[in-house]
């Protein structure tokens, strides 16, 4: 009887102190090994993703996005771009009116990686864990973002 009470008490206390599993997520901004870009500051990255800066050392830069519902994109925008959904909409409506379209969107980190490997001057962000040794031979990391995420969905 005492044993049962002890087990229930321990279970109850453990429920009280239940902690959520926190993953440390690293997002990397990458470009092709052939690109002239070596590193970028967050300000430069922001300008590139808002298409204020479209050249770097004479090379045309093509930023690419993950879908809006991707958590990786949401973290990237929160940490680097710093504009909320409404502000971004207003910004891109205005830019589109002037003939500047928002960055292309790719379905998955895999597609982003493939595009970056194929198109010179393109840059994109993916979870660091998607960079296999094989991929690392063809791309270079130009910026890193660290975030603590609960129940992270790697999309």
């Amino acid at each position: 009887m005492y044993k049962r009470v002890l087990i229930i008490t321990i279970l109850f206390i453990s429920l009280l102190f239940k902690t959520e599993k926190v993953h440390s997520l690293e997002i990397v901004v990458i470009t092709s090994k052939k690109s002239r870009i070596n590193t970028l500051s967050s300000t430069e990255l922001r300008k590139i993703y808002l298409k204020i800066k479209i050249f770097h050392k004479g090379e045309r830069i093509i930023p690419v996005n993950l879908p809006p519902n991707s958590r990786v994109r949401q973290i990237f925008y929160e940490k680097v771009i710093g504009l909320d959904y409404e502000q971004l909409n207003m910004y891109w409506n205005e830019r589109f009116f002037h003939g500047i379209e928002p960055p292309m969107v790719f379905k998955s980190p895999k597609a982003v990686l493939k595009f970056i490997q194929t198109v010179p001057g393109s840059i994109g962000y993916v979870p660091a864990e998607t960079l296999t040794p094989q991929i690392k031979k063809t791309v270079k990391i130009i910026y890193k973002i660290k975030a603590d995420e609960k129940n992270f969905d790697n999309r």
Partner: protein, 315 residues
């Protein structure tokens, strides 16, 4: 979205043609009883990228349908060429546009369509100081020696391509602008220009300063212009005339998608000894990313007040 599997990505070609448009319906009521509703603008534009070259074209119908106290329904379906240009992107410091363009000055003239601007009405400041469209050459880009500073230089030496809805008819227009960008929602600028008005036969030399700031939920921007004019047709009064104007526009985000707007504007023409003083208070509601519904009340000093309601979309 590039909607393909990663393994099929090599089949994807970069999208190079973009098509869009915008439209708005405006209702106006003046306190003397005048009222009208109109399909104010309906436009279609498209652009095409090929490496560093971009082609841009826009056709627009203005006041396509109007119905009101003085007009029991009129239709105007003739479109006009609002913009048509070719652009070459050489590098960060040099981009060149040639053709019919939006005059690249100030803040408001760059966002003059209903769906982009905060209010349905426009401040007089941006209507009476320079031609809103030009047909000529524009060069622009960042200034290499100054961090985050852009320049624009433009000139026109011909009649405008399709000048029907331009505020000024000119065949001689030159100007420049310097803009210091602190952030995308914090910048200040200075501009200057000169043009010849064919109809009024006068040369105007104008100059302006402008600034845009966002502080959390508050958007605040304004422009101030002054002009120095020489009128040819006033033979008995061949003199210099000065006019000046300013507006300050504020928008405060009360809650998601809803903004309270306020504008104060003033215009003074010393030659006519006339002035205009207007306060505008309104509401801006953005239910979707490309849809805006606006309402405003304009208080005119010594004139009839006005109510404006509008619905605008972009696609």
């Amino acid at each position: 979205m590039i909607n393909v599997k990663a393994t099929e990505l090599n089949k994807v070609k970069l999208k190079q043609v973009y098509v869009g448009g915008y439209s708005s319906v405006v209702y106006e009521y003046v306190t003397n009883g005048f009222n009208q509703i109109k399909l104010h603008e309906i436009a279609l534009f498209g652009f095409y990228h090929y490496n560093r070259i971009k082609l841009f074209g826009e056709l627009e119908g203005i006041d396509t349908y109007t119905y009101g106290s003085y007009n029991k329904g009129s239709l105007n379906i003739e479109p006009y060429i609002e913009r048509l240009y070719i652009e070459y992107l050489h590098n960060e410091y040099l981009r060149i546009k040639g053709g019919k363009l939006l005059t690249p000055l100030g803040i408001w003239n760059q966002i003059y369509i209903n769906v982009l601007k905060w209010t349905t009405s426009e401040p007089v400041t941006i209507q009476w100081f320079y031609p809103r469209f030009m047909t000529g050459i524009q060069t622009y880009g960042f200034i290499p020696w100054f961090k985050n500073t852009t320049y624009t230089f433009f000139f026109q030496k011909t009649n405008n391509l399709d000048n029907r809805y331009n505020n000024v008819s000119t065949n001689d227009f030159i100007g420049f602008q310097i803009k210091k960008i602190f952030d995308i929602d914090r910048y200040i600028g200075f501009n200057m220009g000169r043009f010849y008005d064919i109809k009024l036969k006068e040369t105007s030399l104008f100059s302006g300063i402008f600034g845009y700031f966002r502080i959390n939920r508050l958007y605040i921007f304004g422009e101030i212009y002054g002009a120095y004019e020489e009128e040819e047709h006033h033979y008995s009064y061949r003199s210099k005339i000065d006019k000046w104007s300013f507006y300050i526009q504020m928008a405060y985000k009360l809650f998601s998608k809803n903004y309270l707007t306020f504008r104060s504007e003033y215009f003074e023409d010393k030659s006519d000894n006339a002035y205009l003083n207007v306060i505008t208070i309104g509401w801006n509601y953005k239910p979707f990313s490309k849809v805006v519904i606006k309402g405003e009340y304009q208080l005119f000093e010594k004139r009839q007040d006005r109510i404006l309601l509008s619905f605008a979309v972009m696609f």
